[in-house]
Amino acid sequence: MGVQIAFWLFAILVAGTALYAAVAPKIVHAAFSLMATFFGVAGIYAILGSDFLAVTQVLVYVGGIMVLIVFGVLLTDRVPEEYKVVAPRRWLPALIAGGLCFAAIAGALKSTVWPISSSTPLGDATSTVEGIGRSLLTDYLIPFEFASILLLVVLVGAARLARGQVR
């Protein structure tokens, strides 16, 4: 019961703040709203019992990605008044397109048969972190190593792009 209430609270938080992030007139408010969204998602992970994922969500998204966004805000000039209007001028086509996307995703979610297994994928590990560590270093070694290559590519690419502006 308590879990149900907590889930709905977090779900409303996530949906509400995500919506506000999309329509907020000021970029800082949108950024902050997004931070609350990330927090809400972390809360849902915690409810689902994946503590490592919840903490990682806070550490990487709230602590890391949000820094990028806030720096983006700091790096941007204050948007002049005339550009600030985000009034939905073509709201009807947007609504139809958005509605169709939502319907498609909802339909897919509804029609998919989710294989729910009663056993945990982490085996008999005493904690989720230990289980994740064990799986990463044995069964999922290739994705683990590829993650580092992906991060390297992102690092080099981002540095290169930013430098293009400086030189």
Partner: protein, 354 residues
């Protein structure tokens, strides 16, 4: 009384609330003491008296200051971004307070005992950067903005080193649970198959097993809490008061409080990771299974944390401030490779020698 203690350590719902209230109230009290300590030590270092009029040895000085802060006019300047200007002081206090919730103060006495406690602690202490970035940005003042950008770049640079340095401890301990890390330091390590006894248990402490890691962690902790030699965000000689130049009254007091709560949080993390937490060569088990045991452990923990806090203050009044490029070079080009090398060496020893 023992019943009370059993309830505190066993029953979960009610005890959690009591612990929340306990720690949530003790932390600001500790900060009041800490501010007084800082001023007294500063005075001692500079050969003057320091605050000594309010109460015995000036102990009540911080409370006098608090009342002054409360009575000051709460100015909301016209040029600021109002919402962010009000949110920033809250963000400065709450994350470091939450870090305290994850530290085990005694055996089975952490407010929230999660497997990923240390990661959560880092995650929440990382949120502190937004208080500074947004506080400075929302102030719409150049001093504040320069302070804010400097500070956020500094904080994110040293956060990586902080995490990597702490990793060494967990490699040695083989677990991420802070309680287990503390217990490993009390009775985990053996020489020639014999468990250490008495004062020689000191060699179980991670500061002995992880000296370089401890030093790097401490340096990164100084930088994370904006203490000298890393106090560039509020370098008063060039930036007025840095990111909180435009804040007054209770809003300034909250920034101030947040800074000191962060120091308490970092010190208690250091105590837990490197100084054996609530253990002290077996003394901590003197009153086995009674309330006194838990109280004694909390006292030991507080005493150790106080020593670390004293180091913070001592360093502040000894070492001059870095230049900004030196600070960045130290973080990325010295500490980062050093931490990675130390980590590799630690892991190598653990992997190949055990």
């Amino acid at each position: 009384m023992d019943g009370v203690m059993n309830w505190l350590t066993q029953d979960r719902v009610g005890s959690a609330l009591v612990k929340v209230l306990l720690v949530g109230n003790v932390a600001p009290m500790l900060v009041a003491f800490l501010v007084w300590l800082e001023r007294r030590v500063a005075a001692w270092a500079q050969d003057r008296m320091g605050p000594n009029r309010v109460g015995p040895f000036g102990l009540l000085q911080s409370f006098a200051d608090l009342i002054k802060f409360l009575l000051k006019e709460d100015v909301l300047p016209g040029h600021v971004n109002k919402a962010m200007y009000l949110v920033a002081p809250c963000l400065a206090v709450i994350p470091p307070l939450v870090v305290l919730a994850l530290v085990p103060f005694a055996d089975r006495f952490a407010i929230a005992d999660v497997d990923t406690g240390i990661l959560a602690a880092f995650a929440f202490s990382g949120i502190g950067v937004y208080a500074i970035a947004l506080g400075g940005w929302a102030s719409n003042s150049k001093y504040a903005l320069i302070g804010a950008v400097r500070a956020s770049a500094q904080l994110i640079s040293y956060e990586i080193c902080l995490g990597l340095a702490a990793l060494g401890v967990f490699i040695v301990a083989g677990t991420l649970r802070l309680e287990d890390v503390v217990k490993m330091q009390a009775d985990g390590f053996t020489i020639h198959g014999e468990t250490l006894h008495g004062i020689s248990k000191f060699f179980d402490w991670n500061i002995v097993k992880q000296p370089i890691g401890a030093i790097i962690f401490l340096i990164a902790a100084f930088a994370e809490t904006n203490r000298t030699p890393f106090d560039l965000p509020e370098a008063e000689s060039e930036l007025a008061a840095g990111y909180h130049t435009e804040f007054s009254s209770m809003k300034f007091a909250l920034f101030f409080l947040g800074e000191y709560v962060a120091i308490v949080a970092m010190s208690s993390l250091f105590t837990t990771l490197y100084l054996g937490g609530w253990t002290l060569f077996g003394v901590e088990n003197a009153f086995e299974g009674t309330t006194a045991q838990t109280l004694l452990q909390i006292l030991i923990f507080l005493a150790k944390t106080m020593c670390v806090i004293f180091t913070f203050i001592w360093v502040r009044w000894t070492v001059p401030r870095f230049r900004y490029d030196q600070l960045m070079d130290l973080g990325w080009k010295r500490l980062m490779p050093a931490t990675l090398a130390w980590l590799a060496a630690t892991a190598c020893v653990v992997a190949f020698l055990k």
